[in-house]
Amino acid sequence: MIKHFFSLEFTFSKRWLGIILVVVGVLGCLGLLAFDVIRQSDQGIGPAQRAAMLGLGVAAFIGLTLIPLGKAEA
């Protein structure tokens, strides 16, 4: 599998791109929420965090819609 990944023939499929976007989106959102808990700020979620969470949420959603596209090249 790793050998194939690093071969000159390997290319990402839409499915793999989708999975990556979902993982990044979900983990990113969880990370931002965890950061907010650890920081223990009184101000709650700030505009930068909100924008980042929105972007990550959109990425995860797009990822979900890409997964059914299977082996088509990304």
């Binding site: 390997f10 990402f12 059914p68």
Partner: protein
């Protein structure tokens, strides 16, 4: 019916071309007006010229800010190095730096037009030349390109190198085999990317886009090219670090890390959409099409990454609308490709869950393609109206402004459809007048006649008077905001009234410096220039030692 459609298409394309050529005329008029102006027009231009001077004398502009003359640059060197031969030939002049920026935008426009034409040629064996021309002109017509193009700044040169890199790398990828020609094009493309990065740091976003694209295509190639790219980039970085005794890191990298002001980001995104919406929607449709029905092109990834990261960065101190310039190149290119493909009926929908839904609309496909004949030129015409900006005075422009009912809403009787509502959209784009020249000379007289050095927020007056360039206020502020500037030497010099005069405009100096100026200097005159007020300050009476220019 087909004949009538083809006829209206030609008429509308003709109108779209006239609209875009009008924008080109305004742009050339603005460049012709601004390029000879021998003073700062956009605050900071003179410091770019001073960087060029230092390089032409084989000195580094990345220096310690604490001792006199309190000067350091925060920009990488490529733009200044390109201008060095001109400095050797013509001395310290603004015109060649502005000319370089202006020519850079023309090259970018050509690259965009060529990319649109070549996409059709590669795909169906026939490129759409007219759409290529319109796409290139659309880039030049953007308010953002127009305002930044003829400035002595490195922004548009960076966009030129970025665009060339993206177009060349796409060309290389489209070659069928791993030939020497393909590798050579990749080398040139990555070379352009390095030039872009060492023109302005913002090009890092384009590098991120290229590496993401290459990784999706083939991780092994991405790692190989990425390693080579990083090695060359790091080598240049190390060279700059060593030759500046570490100041390169402090001045050009660390000092440029600023916090983001989110209301400015939001305002600039709204403005960007308001101006370019007619082309953003087609560009976005091509992004979605490639995402679900085709392989993602470098164009789409480049546009998405530079728009997102550049747009967010526009909210930093020192950012602004110019940070959208790369995405304007991207959207001009993508919309051109979309229009070219739409007109050629060159969209196919491979079987998947989405194409099954879209398949219900298949009977309408001929109608949708026919609509392109009317909608494409209309979108360019609409875009032309959205980005309208022009002087409302002068032989050509005044009658047109009266005819169209345009009221000046910017400096020096200028009309700009962008208005002046978004923070970070600077007051430039207007033409300079004979009065501006005269007033600039009046300010210069203060510098020329002072026996002591003059602390000026702009370098142009010092160049004109043949005096020392003292301080770079924005860079002083950058390092002060990072807590890396003490300023005692400069503040003591101000308190001891060792400057003959102090010339302020935007008052960008760090707060302790401004407080020292208030303590020791009084305003003696305010001179308008380019729509801004230049405050001339002289030492407060009783402490003033230059008897020739004693002020009560």
């Amino acid at each position: 019916m087909q004949r009538a459609l083809a006829f209206f298409h030609k008429v509308l394309i003709g109108i779209a071309l006239i609209v875009m050529l009008f924008h080109l005329t305004v742009y050339i008029a603005y460049a012709a007006n601004l390029i000879p102006f021998p003073f700062d027009y956009d605050q900071g231009e003179g410091f770019e010229l001073y960087d060029t001077q230092l390089f032409s004398e084989f000195q580094t502009p990345y220096r310690d800010l604490e001792p006199y003359p309190y000067y350091a640059s925060n920009y990488p060197p490529v733009f200044h190095l390109i201008a060095v031969p001109f400095a050797w030939l013509f001395g310290q002049q603004y015109w060649y730096g502005r000319l370089l920026g202006f020519l850079g935008t023309l090259i970018t426009a050509y690259a965009i037009g060529y990319a649109v034409w070549r996409d059709g040629k590669h795909r169906i064996g026939r490129g759409n030349l007219i759409i290529g021309v319109l796409a290139g002109l659309a880039f030049l017509a953007s308010n953002i390109t127009y305002r930044q193009g003829p400035l002595l700044r490195q922004q548009m040169s960076m966009v030129m190198f970025e665009t060339l890199a993206i177009v060349i790398l796409t060309q290389a990828e489209n070659l069928a085999f791993a030939s020497w020609r393909k590798r050579r094009l990749f080398l040139i493309g990555f070379g352009m990317l390095i030039l872009a990065g060492y023109t302005k740091q913002l090009a890092a976003y384009s590098a991120v886009a290229v590496l993401i694209w290459l990784f999706l295509r083939n991780p092994r190639r991405a790692i190989a090219w990425g390693t080579l790219f990083a090695a060359v980039g790091a080598g240049i970085f190390a060279l700059l670090y060593i030759t500046s005794d570490g100041q390169w890191w402090k001045q050009a990298i660390a000092a440029n890390v600023n916090t983001i002001f989110w209301p400015q980001v939001e305002g600039l995104f709204r403005l960007w959409y308001g101006l370019h919406g007619f082309l953003i929607i087609p560009a976005a449709l091509l992004c979605l099409y490639e995402l679900y029905f085709e392989r993602l092109s470098l164009y789409v990834i480049w546009f998405s990454v530079t728009l997102t990261l550049g747009g967010i960065s526009s909210g930093t101190w020192g950012g602004g609308d110019s940070y959208f310039a790369t995405s304007v190149a991207g959207l001009s290119l993508l919309s051109g490709v979309f229009f070219s493909r739409w007109l050629a009926g060159d969209f196919t929908f491979p079987p998947n869950y989405l194409s099954r839904v879209l398949g219900l609309l298949k009977p309408l496909a001929p109608l949708v393609t026919a609509c392109a004949l009317l909608i494409v030129p209309l979108l360019y015409i609409g875009y032309g109206r959205a980005v309208l900006k022009m002087p409302t005075t002068g032989v050509l422009f005044e009658p047109l402004a009266n005819w169209w009912g345009l009221e000046p809403n910017a400096l020096n009787g200028f009309y700009d459809s962008a208005g002046r509502i978004a923070g970070g959209y600077s007051d430039i784009g207007h033409f300079v007048t004979a009065q501006d020249y005269a007033n600039a000379e009046r300010i210069t007289d203060y510098v020329r006649n002072s026996e002591k050095p003059v602390l000026s927020e702009e370098a142009g007056f010092s160049f004109r008077a043949g005096r020392d360039v003292v301080s770079n206020p924005t860079q002083l502020l950058n390092v002060w905001l990072r807590g890396q500037y003490d300023g005692t030497t400069l503040i003591n010099q101000i308190d001891r009234q060792e400057f003959g005069y102090i010339i302020l405009r935007a008052q960008f100096y760090p707060t302790p410096v401004l407080l020292a100026i208030s303590r020791a200097y009084d305003t003696i005159e305010v001179i308008p220039m380019n729509g801004f007020e230049y405050i001339i300050k002289a030492p407060k009476s009783g402490q003033w030692s230059d008897t020739n220019y004693f002020v009560e």
